[in-house]
Homo-oligomer: 277 residues x 3
């Protein structure tokens, strides 16, 4: 795929979402759930969040894509998450997995292991999470011992390149590694997306809400294009918001404004580079 073709698809994805207001349901953590919903609305999607198994199944079938984030697990997730992931896999609906804090706790480990068979269309995480998930799934580039400290990364994006490619090859979808420069791969090519702001790690939920936004775009595009489109609008909105503020509180507010205002053309033209794997 040449760069111009990718940009054309990004443009079309943004426009389609704005025109059709697609629903992407979520099962996500309580810390950033409000930000996830507002970011999904800002880019033109519709949001709905649930916790129970049959409600998750309903949203999985009703929505064009689904977002699953394991940040704050509840006991009921032992039933909800495998069930919903299985439904998504069997119905061929794309879903986005955010393996927050992989390595912490037995339920989290059990759930993330189960997800290997249900092949999320997009996996989004920081470098440490991507390496740890590849390790858990026994894929190349993974490491058996997680270096995840809490929810923050202790590894650089480039250190996760092999793991990201392995994961994408396994799922047949895409992987997005968030960091200073973001890496998105479908296992065949790698896109590096530029921009963003030093304020992004100073507010909670830029990663989670990006996962939710990628799910919205995944209703209208391939996993790779959805992941790259979401990452591009985040880098664009982050850079624009940073110029208008002097603190993280104002940054979050302006960031949502810029997500809402970004044109399809500007998102498609946000700087990125492509390389073959």
């Amino acid at each position: 795929m040449i760069k111009e073709e990718i940009q054309k698809q990004i443009f079309q994805t943004v426009e389609t979402v704005r025109r059709t207001n697609p629903m992407a349901g979520s099962i996500t953590n309580t810390v950033t759930i409000n930000f996830v919903a507002n970011a999904q609305l800002a880019v033109g999607g519709s949001a709905a969040m649930v916790y129970l198994p049959d409600e998750g199944e309903f949203l999985a079938k009703a929505g064009g894509a689904t977002y699953i984030n394991v940040g704050t697990l509840f006991p009921i997730y032992e039933q909800t998450l495998p069930h919903v992931a299985k439904v998504l896999h069997e119905t061929g609906k794309p879903w986005v997995l955010d393996p927050v804090a992989v390595g912490i706790g037995s339920l989290r480990t059990q759930l993330l292991k189960q997800f290997k068979d249900y092949k999320p269309g997009v996996i989004r995480g920081n470098a440490s999470e991507i390496i740890a998930l590849a390790g858990l799934w026994e894929l190349n580039g993974g490491e058996a011992t997680s270096r995840v400290r809490g929810v923050d990364s202790t590894d650089s994006v480039n250190a996760a390149k092999t793991a990201a490619v392995s994961l994408a090859k396994w799922t047949g979808g895409a992987v997005a590694v968030s960091g200073k420069t973001d890496l998105i791969t479908d296992g065949k090519i790698i896109a590096y997306s530029y921009g963003g702001s030093h304020f992004m790690p100073k507010i909670t939920g830029t990663g989670c809400s990006l996962g939710g936004v990628i799910a919205v775009y995944a209703t209208a595009a391939s996993p790779f294009i959805a992941a790259l489109t979401g990452t591009a609008v985040y880098n664009l909105a982050g850079a624009r918001a940073e110029k208008k503020v002097d603190g993280p509180g104002s940054f979050q507010v302006k960031f949502l404004d810029e997500l809402y205002k970004a044109s399809a053309e500007d998102i498609a033209n946000n700087p990125f580079e492509i390389e073959e794997v």
Copy 2:
């Protein structure tokens, strides 16, 4: 009731709440729970949220009114919600029901059916939710098959008029249908409230937080006046906030400011019309 009498009661409700700082406890969803609390504080109320049965009972008895929103159900709600609704009904305390996403999942359906006997003082929802709830309760204007997609309405406010009147007649309270023009009825008269902003559906929780604010006003007014007062301050604050912003992030911030600053006189004078049922 003539319009001037209604306006006088709105004025008094706003003033009483600002003077007495009444507590309205909530059992509400995790997506917008922070916005609900902040909106309740902004209009002069006091907020408290819980999940467990005996804590819900405590708040029901301690508060002047209670807000129940079924947005994100937890398993414990199977015990909490019928128990608290029963306590509210038996003690004659007003409560506000927000039947978010009625039709999705078996627990939600079971709970919303049970609420029929506990007669919420105010039911607030979008048009699709009001029609679906009337259907679930087998009242006029309801439909057996929900068109609720997720949390957004696919029906117009006017399409829900018969359902809203039926629900209000059944409960003896009021029903507020949120939309471009909002409809509030006590089963005898209908008020149409004007104002608001195109940004309101672009942030999550304008509906939920309105439910919480109506509960605050219900500590000091009849269900109909509480619902109309809440809707009026939302329409006023939305219209004022919209003029100051160019995106949904800033809109939410300024909206809370305007809720806080709105005078009782301006709220009472926010445009509305009355018709007989």
Copy 3:
């Protein structure tokens, strides 16, 4: 300890946290969980939130301090909270307890009673909560019957002085009573911290997020200094934010900005007075 020595320690605490980005995990309520995390990030810490027993244990051991807030209890907390508090006590890690709404419900009462043996390094609450907790623990200054209405205080800070001192003597740590003037004591001396804003009780979570911020500082200072440092930066940021806004929505945004921008010197110089117990 003379005032200059205290100010020097405040200065060093703020600087150490900004330099080392320490992690303080939380088990906290869903209403203000996002604000807690963003406040912790704003002062230079790292945040992570969980609900399950083994995950709480992981965070307790991985973090430099932990924040436990009983605002919105889930059923699983019956297992999680005593287990995590025990781990913290046994490993000698500092933890901050926010006894929100003490007196409401049987599980809350049971948990808060159990915490007596696990001696939180810092207890932070409003006056009514501090008096009620001392009562529950059968210490001087406490009262058997809680006057906690919901989450707001009905008592003045000075009324809680004896209770605060008793609690600090029992735990060997510190107690922070939030109010118009804030009182912080280690059982030997009392600091009164000045500043803040009339907007602080008009947004939900200033108390909760202060608890989270104190936990961040407790990774780098004694309980007393951590509590005083957190209170000082809150009073400073509150006073600064108030000058820039005319409503509570904008206040919360600017408050986070000011938390982020406050210099160690300004925080150390925020007005406070010391008296012997």
